[in-house]
């Protein structure tokens, strides 16, 4: 119902503004490119935040349209690549909750971190050497990301790690 209201307002504006504009060319001039294609784009932001409760990194995410309207979770899931949504449904530790972003204080989604410590241990089990702390940290984040990234079909480019 609200959509109709908005269109109504737009209708009023069109009439107003077009009369306005014919008097003052305040919108377009010959140096302005007028584009005819208006693609609807969806954006997805990912944040990696450390959780002091679980003592692991946590992947926060949210999606929105180009006008800023947030996309709900079921719409996000529809747009995940096929392999990713399979990951989401089968693994027991990948489930998504909605929570307030710890710094931005707005509702974001996150991959719940309760299983992270466990499966990170499995990944690191075989590592017997004692590398420097910076190397360990980078390895940890890379390993962590290589797992959670699968949920969204995110792939990792090694160029960044150099």
């Amino acid at each position: 119902m609200q959509k109709e209201d908005i269109d109504q307002i737009s209708q009023i504006d069109t009439r107003e503004e077009e009369t306005c504009c014919s008097r003052n060319e305040d919108v377009l001039d010959d140096a302005t490119l007028v584009q005819s294609n208006h693609h609807e784009l969806h954006y997805c932001d990912f944040h990696i935040v450390y959780s002091s409760t679980f003592r692991v990194p946590v992947l926060y995410f949210r999606a929105y349209c180009s006008d800023g309207r947030p996309l709900p979770l079921d719409e996000i899931e529809k747009e995940l690549p096929a392999c990713a949504s399979k990951e989401l449904s089968k693994k027991k530790w990948t489930f998504i909750t909605q929570e307030e972003h710890p710094y931005l204080k707005r509702p974001w989604y996150k991959l719940h971190p309760c299983g992270t410590a466990e499966w990170m241990k499995l990944l690191f089990l075989s590592d017997t050497a004692n590398p420097k702390f910076e190397v360990v940290l980078e390895l940890y984040l890379l390993s962590w990301f290589s797992v959670v990234g699968q949920v969204f079909g995110l792939r990792f480019y090694f160029k960044i790690s150099n």
């Binding site: 307002i9 069109t14 140096a31 006008d67 709900p72 027991k92 489930f95």
Partner: protein
């Protein structure tokens, strides 16, 4: 898009706006907490960065940080924003109106001119050369409807129009204009510029290339020095646009600066664009523009025309966005609750039927210790439709044990429990559909005078209608006799009925069996029910012989009578150990959820818990018992099974058919004559014959519920 050949007008791709939802959230907060109806313009900062993707332009973005802080201890200072490589700060201004009419009445042309004037002045004063970020500005007008969370807005990116417009001499990818060596050096120099925190957010700069193909990036203020050296010089800027044939909007004011301040006619420019954080000279463009402005255009007092209002899908209208879903606290609470239950389903209970819980209508008779807890538990399971019935008012001692009430509900004699409970539920979860009914339940053994008869009959009728219009009835009152009429009505209407009753340190939670007149669905073959074959004939068949489960009264030998008179204070007030009510209430709701997930529902057979069942259950929620009796002193509970009794004063076929035949008259008789029910059911006869064996009958049986009496 036709490729622009030389001599055609240079056309710029307009900036596109993008508003993060956090911006509206903070604006709402500022409006509500700080500004009120003050609609003075608000200083804001926009952000943009060079294009980083070959198919998508970058936008000019507003975030929460674009607005002044909404915390109370800071004054409304313009936000001091330190940019970084992803955010070049753009100074701006917001005109937020208090009404839709005010929004439309804003003199947009005037506002745009005022912002353009600021840029023109900065160009002439030299400020634009020192701090080139002021070459771009953002103007935003808005109206925030904070009841519906609709935000109407319109952006303008003021651009000084050259008169006449500049013409394009040449435009091509930078990699095709630079030599290989030059390209490498330019990339390196630009990457260095982008990586330094001092220059990363400086969006306009110079690129000079010496005869050795060595490139250097310089600040605008070094222009004279670069010109003296006679090297190749490009005017570079962070270009958010990705298009291959058009430069982005920031170049407009850049050209205005170049013409007004340095009076250059031919300008070679570099539209700097990136890919994955590094300079991308294939995406970046190098072009040459010819500026032939009129005499007098450059004079400071002659402010050029300004353009820049953003189109909305090609139309000259404002935009609107509705953010109720992510900003309305009630909606957020609903979606959080839903997500929580769905999580339970994903993680642990795939067969959980949330839809049935969402649509279930529950009637709670009694809004005391049991009623309050049951209501909360139901909401936790996703039940939204709850009706509470109670005659009483909240007393001073209630809030401690009755979890929906606080001291405020006790004042001035105390609010009605039913209404206070509904209020409380709505405070917990605004989307609950709760109703409160203030009514007394007519009880046998509490005779009514002839004046009261009419209203009592009305109450009976209302109770009957309530029971009919709900799916589940919880009997949570504090006397046995008050449970009689509801039990009868539920048996008559075959409604799922759950009873919870408390002793001092023990409790009973049970589900009533189905009523006596119902077709039993075809259960397992073991029932050996030959009647099940002919379902059509079952409509009026007495199903007492089918071992249906009993109700609360099935095991009683006496009819419910007045248990409240002539009792000591502690018995009247039904004082119990505080832990009992929460335990019993929780079990009552969990039992209900079990019934709802059983394929046979109200007809489900009863199961007994035994230690050998281990962890494997037929049904995901576990067994579905008939009765649960618990004892706190032993920290123990047992599951029991009791079948219906042919002489039950509440649910046997005799009683129910009498009710069906004579309706309210039957009820009235039961209420007014203490022995009527016993006569009707034959209990009187039974007792007489039992008495002849000279056994001792305890007169006060109804007090103790902690012993199973087998008939």
């Amino acid at each position: 898009m036709a490729k622009q050949g030389s001599g055609s007008i240079l056309q710029f791709a307009p900036l596109q706006s993008s508003v993060d939802e956090g911006f509206w959230h903070r604006l709402s907060s500022l409006k509500l907490n700080k500004f009120g109806i003050d609609d003075s313009p608000i200083p804001i900062s926009g952000f943009y960065a060079p294009c980083s993707h070959p198919q998508v332009s970058n936008h000019l973005t507003l975030l929460a940080e674009s607005l002044p802080s909404d915390s109370n201890d800071e004054s409304t200072m313009p936000p001091v924003i330190r940019g970084n490589r992803n955010r070049c700060s753009v100074p701006g201004i917001l005109y937020n109106t208090n009404t839709m009419e005010g929004f439309h009445a804003l003199y947009k042309q005037g506002l745009l001119k005022a912002e353009a004037m600021k840029i023109w002045e900065d160009i002439h004063s030299g400020k634009a050369v020192e701090d080139c970020a002021v070459l771009s500005r953002v103007l935003l007008i808005s109206f925030a409807d904070l009841k519906k969370w609709n935000f109407h807005y319109w952006f303008a990116f003021p651009a000084l129009a050259l008169d006449p417009s500049a013409t394009l001499v040449d435009l091509r990818p930078a990699s095709q204009w630079f030599t290989l060596e030059e390209a490498e050096s330019v990339s390196a120099a630009c990457n260095e510029w982008r990586n330094s925190s001092v220059t990363a957010d400086v969006p306009f700069f110079l690129v000079s290339i010496d005869s050795d193909s060595h490139a250097a990036v310089k600040h605008l203020k070094d222009l004279e020095a670069c010109q003296r050296d006679g090297q190749k010089l490009l005017f570079a800027f962070y270009d958010p646009c990705h298009l291959p044939n058009n430069p982005g909007w920031p170049l407009r004011n850049f050209l205005a600066l170049i013409s007004a301040r340095w009076n250059l006619k031919t300008v070679r420019f570099l539209c700097y664009r990136e890919n994955r954080g590094f300079a991308d000279l294939n995406l970046s463009l190098v072009g040459e523009a010819l500026i032939t402005v009129q005499q007098g255009w450059r004079e400071q007092q002659c402010v050029p025309n300004a353009v820049g209002w953003e189109l909305n899908k090609g139309r000259k209208v404002p935009r609107c966005i509705n953010l109720a879903k992510s900003m309305d606290p009630t909606r957020l609470a609903i979606s959080a609750a839903d997500l929580n239950l769905k999580l339970m389903r994903w993680r642990a209970l795939p067969s959980l039927n949330l839809e049935i819980l969402f649509s279930l209508k529950c009637l709670l008779l009694g809004a005391g210790t049991l009623g309050c807890q049951v209501a909360r538990m139901l909401m936790a399971w996703g039940v939204r439709k709850i009706t509470l019935l109670d005659n009483g008012r909240v007393a001073m001692s209630n809030p401690l044990r009755q979890s929906l009430y606080t001291l405020d509900d006790c004042l001035n004699g105390g609010d009605f429990k039913a209404t206070a409970a509904v209020r409380s539920l709505q405070r917990i979860f605004p989307a609950v559909e709760a109703e409160g009914i203030v009514m007394a339940i007519p009880m046998p053994g509490h005779p009514v005078s002839s004046q009261e008869e009419k209203s009592v009959l009305e109450d009976c009728k209302q109770l009957n209608d309530l029971i009919d219009s709900h799916d589940v009835i919880f009997l949570l009152t504090d006397t046995r006799e008050s449970r009689w009429l509801p039990t009868l009505l539920c048996a008559n209407s075959n409604k799922i009925t759950i009873t919870a009753a408390l002793g001092f340190d023990s409790f009973l939670v049970m589900r009533h069996g189905p009523g006596p007149f119902n077709s039993i669905p075809n259960l397992k073959a073991e029932t050996e029910n030959s009647l099940a074959a002919g379902m059509d004939n079952l409509a009026l068949t007495n199903t007492d012989g089918q071992h249906r489960l009993g109700c609360y009264f099935c095991n009683d030998v006496v009819a419910p009578t007045d248990s409240t008179s002539n009792r000591t204070l502690d018995q009247q007030c039904t004082v119990t150990r505080p832990g009992l009510a929460p335990i019993a209430s929780a079990l009552a709701v969990e039992l209900l959820v079990g019934i709802l997930h059983h394929p046979n529902g109200i007809f489900a057979e009863a199961e007994i818990a035994n230690s050998s069942s281990g962890g494997n259950f037929e049904l995901p929620l576990g067994i579905l018992p008939h009765q649960i009796r618990g004892s706190l002193p032993h920290f123990q509970q047992m599951t029991l099974l009791g079948h219906s009794s042919n002489s039950c004063t509440a649910c046997c076929s005799t009683v129910v058919s009498e009710y069906r035949k004579r309706g309210m008259q039957f009820i009235l008789q039961a209420i007014n004559h203490p022995t009527y029910l016993e006569d009707v059911t034959g209990l009187t006869e039974l007792m007489r014959s039992a008495n002849s064996f000279q056994l001792d009958w305890d007169d006060d049986i109804e007090v103790a519920d902690d012993e199973c009496v087998e008939l």
